[in-house]
Amino acid sequence: MGMTLAEKIISQHAGKNVKAGEIALVNVDVCLTQDGTGPLAIRQLQKIDLEKAANPKSTVLFIDHAAPSPRSELSNDHITIRKFAEKTGACLSDVGEGVCHQIIAESYLKPGDILIGADSHTCTGGALCAFSTGMGSTDVAIGIALGKTWLRVPETFKIEVSGEFKKGVYAKDLILHLIGKIGADGATYKALEFCGETIENMNMSSRLTLANMAVEAGAKAGLIASDKTTKKFLKEYGREKDFKAIKADNDAEYEKVIKIDASKLVPIVSFPHTVDNTKTVDQAKGIEVDQIFIGTCTNGRLEDLEIFANIVKGKRKHSKTRLIVVPASKRVFLDALDKGIIKTLVDFGAAVLAPGCGPCVGVHEGILGDGEICLSTMNRNFKGRMGNPKGFIYLASPATCAVASVLGEIADPRRFVNKANSKSKKTK
């Protein structure tokens, strides 16, 4: 019997063939922590006198969630992280570098790797066909020190996508649609494997958006076969030699197959306070928005900023809506500067902040006021997520956010999207 992507990658790291449901001890290639989880991981290792990194060159400690630090307590946490990096030789990604998952994809992860990260959206790395999964601080701490972890091999849902997206509909709408359909716990403990012609034709930026949100359906991983698009992405970042083609076997066993026709999808909006509370953009029409946030590991890449900028170029931001833009990484920021995108955004009225998580986790840089509504490209809209349980967060694609920032309320982006945008989706 053939293997799914998850079974293949885990088997290679377990030194034997394992199937869904089995427990495997595996070597870990890449480990990550961020500033909300790293200090606890470090303290755990200190407690048992195991302050070391088995693979320092692929252990990456990020300072991205509260960067630059808004409070002395957090500045002290950052000191703990920097000291640990210095002591163990682990890599440090400090203030201004960007969001962990984006940088892991740009600079560290290879197809076929196992990545464990003390951040739930570690599943983003699945877009590069690396088995990438989020765990807690202690699990990742032990992974850092010993270079291994244990995994239950997940069953896989095959998500087969065919057809071409209509203008104004994007990977973000696809993943929100899927989560709405199967529910926020629809894939708990499972791996999602995205495949089909739509995925094969999809650029890496959009693939990262899909894999990123696998956890919002409860999944342990969101995987995509590595192919020429993966190779092209690695080449862009000077890492062509890291490429390896991996695909699932034709006779692999899937727990479930879900087929989606991308050409039938419409723009989707997730309503507060759960990601699976999805509605079509028509049902959200007219909702007035106080704050718009473009960024995060979900949609803070060049493609996203470009889609946004193409829609708002030459227009004026609605006076009652404020706009926060946070490029996902330094590289994204520089590329967006080169292309004139940042100028367009600042002209339009955006507050562009340093690469990082920005206001995503509610610690700084855009905390909502009581009763305020935020429309965002982020991946999560839980109560309290943006620092105030009395705020309301709606999730959508960069294009839907762009239109709302012009009109001051949610509206269907399909009328506004020009040809340049739909073309940039298909190439790459």
Partner: protein, 166 residues
Amino acid sequence: MLLTGKAWKFGDNISTDLIAPGRLFHLRSNLPELAKHVLEDADPEFAKKVQVGDFVVGGNNFGLGSSREHAPTIIKLAGVSAVLAKSFARIFYRNAINVGLPVLICDTDKIKNGDELEVDLEKGTVVNKITGDVLKFAPLPKAMIRILNDGGLLAHIQKYGDFKID
């Protein structure tokens, strides 16, 4: 082991943002202080009123969201002896075991806020002393029983110097 205490009932989809809010990010290195706010955004009274030994009882998908291990850690620090739910999000479940907090999957529709419960971890039963209902919970995976019995993942690694889960 027999655990007894009162049930604190919560609904479906209790996220780690509700358990350990992001706006208290700066308290993550001060867990006793963070524990004073545990579940605050789901029930502002909970942290003040919970008694040592009590149970947190959720519905579906308890602990979804962020990987923050601080969430199960502060539930435990608040004195809670176990979390019962119809289902758990994966990372929370694993974190809870790692920090030595029992997490039990059972039909929590049969439990009301304030019910007195008696949990037998070995037998896998929850007795509702108010209604007399006896609920069964599924045993933990073997690897997790080993880690929980050792007192959590850190103690497990300290004991063996490695994973010893088979």
